[in-house]
């Protein structure tokens, strides 16, 4: 007889859907079916059951082959690597729970490491902008119940956050949005005609990288001042139409993604997007929210900020926390060759860093803690597979609107496998002995 577990949290994207249903075998050892999740979320749950999964830590030999080692040996190697290194980099954290992140921060403090999370290649520039001018934001519940003007700027939720629109932003019938999608206007700004853009009332097909100009033009249009005929490839009439649509709403929200954070003006794009939000509050109620990618990248920023005072790009090498993106950020540290050991957990810099930042990882002592085989595990000296967080272990995670949600364990991990947190505790205790820390 199978069991159905309801209200399961999906550990894929920052939407952190909390209505998943999972069917498990009677003994709770096998996950059989997944309901309500998007195609990516379903794959994440189901892949945990793969028969070819790596279940034991593996050390790379001189001839390039892998040799299975025990978790004790893996923890010894990791602790010694961190103890010896002058400037280790501890990167990732976004696909694990806050409890593990907190243990990781203890390790970072003892080993005087640089710590960073995947915001480095995602919403890092957003965090800089928020520190510059603040963030008028709200929760996704408020969006569902109140928002009638939805702007997706440089993001494509149809692909990256597949259930965002159906759960929160476009389709749901909320308290003041009883007609669902009929009561909302949708504006999309993207250089491609994305599947999100195809659904929009207004799509501004901007010239790539001209976001700053267009956002500035919107600020001019709100005030009804003079505009050039074309800004960023968009005719002024279309800009005024979009501006009027934004102003005429009762509650609006700008969701923004990598289109603005990764294009040339970077944090300045976000600065001006937040200024647009501020301007709009002179006419109506408006909010802005980053579309966070990993399911717990927000949580990692929260834990870093709570324990070290900064949300990412932290350098503890001097014994206290310093923060200076560009100097203390992972990509720059790696490209400049300043790091002498690499510790990766819950992310894949091998696949998602520019190759010039990956090459140094292959030439230094390195540990990759990840349930999957990845390009990072492919270039690391030690690969430590762990239980899938959110599937085989629970723990606290933060949704993209900073709402903490406890993930649930639905199935047992393969026999003998540890969770991130259990492995990190082993490393921490060894490191304390090596460093003589209390």
């Amino acid at each position: 007889m199978t069991k159905t577990i309801t209200d399961v949290i999906c550990p894929f994207c920052g939407t952190l859907c909390d209505d998943i249903e999972v069917v498990v075998s009677d003994d709770g050892k096998q996950l059989l079916e997944v309901y309500n999740a998007c195609v990516i979320g379903s794959e994440k749950f189901l892949h945990s059951q793969a028969k070819d999964r790596v279940t034991k830590p593996r050390m790379r030999q001189d001839d390039g082959t892998w040799k299975d080692v025990s978790y004790d040996e893996a923890a010894d190697y990791t602790a010694q690597m961190l103890a010896k290194a002058k400037k280790p980099l501890m990167y990732g954290w976004s696909s694990t729970n806050c409890e593990a992140q907190s243990v990781g921060n203890e390790i970072a403090e003892i080993s005087r490491a640089c710590c960073d999370n995947t915001a480095a290649v995602c919403h890092g520039t957003t965090l800089i902008a928020v520190q510059d001018i603040g963030l008028p934001t709200c929760t996704l519940g408020e969006v569902k119940n109140r928002a009638d003007r939805i702007i997706f700027w440089g993001c494509n939720p149809a692909h990256a956050h597949p259930r965002h629109m159906s759960r929160y932003s476009i389709f749901p019938r909320g308290f003041f949005t009883g007609k669902g999608q009929m009561s909302r206007k949708m504006i999309v700004i993207d250089p491609r005609v994305t599947d999100t853009a195809k659904m929009a009332d207004v799509h501004l097909q901007i010239e790539q990288g001209k976001d700053y100009e267009l956002l500035n033009a919107l600020r001019v249009a709100f005030k009804g001042e003079w505009l050039p005929d074309v800004v960023a490839g968009i005719p002024k009439e279309k800009i005024r139409e979009a501006a009027d649509m934004m102003k005429s709403g009762r509650f609006g929200i700008i969701f923004f993604g990598m289109g603005v954070t990764q294009s040339l003006s970077k944090n300045h794009n976000i600065d001006i997007a937040i200024a647009v939000t501020k301007d709009l509050n002179e006419y109506t109620k408006f909010s802005i929210m980053p579309m966070r990618g990993h399911y717990n990248v927000t949580g990692s920023g929260e834990v870093f900020a709570w324990q070290f005072g900064f949300p990412y790009s932290i350098d503890l090498t001097r014994g206290f926390a310093r923060y200076n993106p560009g100097d203390t950020s992972s990509i720059d540290l790696l490209v400049r060759g300043e790091v002498d050991a690499m510790f990766t957990i819950g992310s894949d810099p091998g696949a998602h860093f520019p190759i010039s930042a990956v090459k140094p990882i292959a030439n230094m002592p390195s540990v990759c803690i990840d349930p999957h085989l990845t390009p990072t595990s492919g270039v690391s000296k030690l690969h430590v597979p762990v239980a899938f967080n959110g599937v085989e272990t629970g723990g606290n995670c933060y949704r993209m609107d900073n709402v903490p949600i406890d993930c649930r364990k639905v199935v047992e991990p393969p026999a003998g496998m540890l969770t991130d947190e259990q492995f990190l505790v082993m490393v921490r205790d060894r490191l304390k002995k090596l460093k003589g820390a209390a």
Binding site: V39, I40, H47, A160, Q208, D327, I331, F353, V358
Partner: protein, 135 residues
């Protein structure tokens, strides 16, 4: 002389990329999802390439072989799209301009047809570029 064209490269997520990373980056499905370059029809014509042809994409920062496919979310003449992953990251601009964030969107690239060159698997592509010995 081989024909080539210059386009503005952006990268980003696709739902196929999301499924592929969760089902295993060691598998050929990851290459099918991300070892591609989406080009506008007009740009494919200008290059003189059929759809689904292997092409070499070169920037100031590297070079990679991917499959040129017709834009799925177009039209976007002048803009090329490679889903985020090791193929895109072999050629994107790593400069962070002191923000910590590489310039993943907006790298000028040169594209030329290379029908006979193979597209590598994701992990293999990174290992070869990093000079990792594989047993």
């Amino acid at each position: 002389m081989t024909k080539n064209i210059t386009l503005n490269l952006i990268s980003g997520r696709t739902i196929q990329q999301g499924v592929a990373i969760e089902s295993g980056k060691e598998k050929p499905s990851y290459r099918t999802a991300c070892g591609i370059i989406e080009m506008d029809n007009a740009d494919l014509k200008a290059l003189g390439a059929w759809k689904n042809t292997n092409v070499r994409v070169t920037s100031d920062h590297g070079s990679v072989i991917v499959k040129a496919i017709e834009a799925t979310q177009g039209p976007h003449p002048g803009v090329a799209f490679i889903p985020m992953g090791p193929w895109a990251n072999s050629i994107v601009d790593p400069n962070t301009y002191s923000t910590g964030m590489p310039t993943f969107k907006g790298t000028p690239v040169k594209i030329e047809v290379t029908i006979n060159e193979p597209i590598l698997l994701g992990i293999e592509l990174v290992q070869i570029q990093c000079g990792v010995k594989v047993g």
